[in-house]
């Protein structure tokens, strides 16, 4: 079958969505299909948000099936349009509701009209899908709350799934995330300040990288926090393998590869009750520790795992078992089922 995977392209930015689309293409090819990614540039500001949507509407997409993944690629028209939704334009939905600093949708008339229009258009084009899947239950729930649509979650393996491995339970907590506000990189600093002495390594890059470094100095934990910036695949695999635990507590995450990668490395995950899709995987006291997200509780969770390596091992082992069944082949079958 000829399959086009459709995705938005934010010029000069690459992240989880692009990895996900590329991995899907790899899986489709492995299953014997011809597959390619089609990307069209998008602007996220609300004043320009509809142009790319309309552009997708007009594109000739010659293939047996298209798989649209994120806003606004699902505006594409095709008689066999499967949507596997990574995310809508969150700034217009939950971002606006949460008054997140990354949402430019306020309650002025222009913003409300743009929000109205984007919702109505989403309802039409997502309603056209011959099948509607989401990458997580969190995304399916947003669709139900905001659009009245029903999507089936379809969980997939994270990048490096076939290379991540278990290792020793070392003396550090690992954080792997972009240094952006919705990932809440401050929490690793604040939790360290409330904990008894464990180290942390926070890998990744982003606009808040320097802010976090200064915050660590101000909090007196700079000597316990390593900030290596972006690390390559080989390094991150070994960082996972040697960690005592992994901190991953973003705000209302869509899916969260870090959680799954931690589990594949046999490590428990410390998270927060408002971390969204992470909570579909992390069960308190079973596969990790779920806190209220406060520095005090996060720091206490660090101390508990630092003091009890057997607990860390037990939780991590349960996490590894939890993700054992994740594989691409069944996902390809579901997406392309007649």
């Amino acid at each position: 079958m000829d399959v086009l995977v459709c995705g938005a392209q934010k010029p000069f930015m690459t992240g989880g969505a692009e990895q996900h689309q590329d991995n899907l293409v790899t899986a489709l090819r492995a299953a014997g299909h011809r597959a390619e990614v089609v990307r069209v540039p998008v602007a996220w500001e609300k004043d320009r948000i509809f142009e790319a949507a309309m552009a997708w509407r007009l594109l000739p997409l010659d293939a047996d099936v298209i798989i649209a993944t994120n806003f606004p690629s699902y505006f594409a028209r095709h008689p066999r349009k499967v949507v596997w939704l990574f995310h809508q334009h969150r700034a217009a939905y939950d971002g606006a509701d949460a008054q997140a600093d990354w949402s430019d949708f306020g309650t002025d008339d222009t913003a409300l009209e743009a929000q109205r229009l984007i919702t109505e258009w989403d309802n039409v084009v997502l309603g056209e899908a011959t099948r509607l899947f989401s990458t997580s239950g969190v995304i399916a729930d947003r669709l139900a709350r905001y659009n009245g649509l029903v999507a089936t979650p379809l969980y997939h393996p994270p990048p490096l799934a076939d290379r991540l491995h278990e290792g020793d339970f070392g003396d550090y907590v690992l954080s792997v995330a972009r240094f952006d506000s919705n990932k809440r990189p401050d929490l690793v600093v604040d939790a360290l300040a409330q904990s008894g002495g464990i180290r942390a390594i926070a890998a990744g890059r982003g606009v808040l990288q320097h802010h976090v470094r200064h915050r660590a100095k101000a909090a007196g934990v700079a000597d316990r926090l390593e900030l290596p910036g972006f690390v390559d695949d080989d390094t991150v695999i070994e960082l996972f393998a040697g960690a005592r635990a992994v901190l991953y507590a973003p705000l209302d995450e869509d899916y969260g590869y870090t959680t799954l990668q931690a589990f594949l490395a046999g490590k428990p995950v410390v998270t927060a009750t408002d971390s969204g899709g992470v909570l579909e995987w992390v069960e308190d006291g079973v596969t990790g520790l779920v806190t209220d997200g406060s520095p005090r509780e996060l720091g206490a969770a660090f101390d508990r795992l630092a003091a009890d390596p057997a607990l860390a091992r037990r939780l991590g082992s349960a996490g590894r078992e939890r993700v054992r069944g994740l594989a691409w082949a069944p996902i390809v079958d579901r997406l392309l089922a007649p």
Binding site: Y93, R116, W121, N123, V124, L149
Partner: protein, 304 residues
Amino acid sequence: MSLPRLGLLVGTDPPARLRLLLMAVSDRVCAVDALRASGAGPAPAAYLWTSGGPVPPAGVPYAAWLPEVDADTDLLDAAAVILTDDVAAADRIGRQALMVPASAPDPAATPVPPFVRRRLRAARGLPDTPLVRGDAAGWHWYPNSADGGLALDDDAVDAAIAVAAAAVTTGAALLRVLAWGTPCVTDPASAEALGAGAAAVVVTDPDDRLAAAAALAADPRAAARHHAAGTRLVRTRHNLRWSAAEMLRRLRLPPSSLSPIATVVSGLDEFGMPEGSPFARRIRAHLAALPIHADPPHAAGWTR
């Protein structure tokens, strides 16, 4: 080069509603031509047949207007699309049917999703979950369901419907409420007349409807579900432009490459976008510099 042609095979004068549909079709850059159906000139790419008209030639897709009596079932069975103005008939026929609506809501009515209403109410200092009710006694506004209703002036009704968390109404007003995308409670007869069984909450006892609306207003998922179903119903069953576009699609008469703007117009119609909307104006502005003839040719034999 010529435009795609839709031939007419009419037995009697087509009903007025069908004429309106054909005018909307001609807006879609498709020539509607009764003369070509007689066999002279280029053959039509598709036909529209009404009861008593000549039989469509084999192998050419056609739309059939569902006659009120003595349906020729063979011709209906073979039609690419069956046009009807009867909701019950459309439901009975299923996917082959296409509604030529007998009634259409005010084009100024724009659907407002429940969560946008909530934000709008918060911004305006309005109550959290107000209800609106329309019946023989007029329209009333309920700041919350425990209070008595406040009578609304006629010129405030649309605004109240647009921001209410849920509504209660029956009869023709149901279409008005659904056009604004308001989650609605109604009676069985109104829901059936409009084909709105999935779009509205149906409550038999009038005394229970306000409470049902309050429950609907308090449930964001149910409200979003009914909003989506209601707006879909209005867009696909009570919108002549949408029906025209859909008929052409099913007849395999796509917007012509002779007029690229037709593709854009088609795209906007699929969203139920009014011609005069700000976004439609922006699209026209984007395309203004291109040498495109935006005005479609008018149909032979049909005038506005």
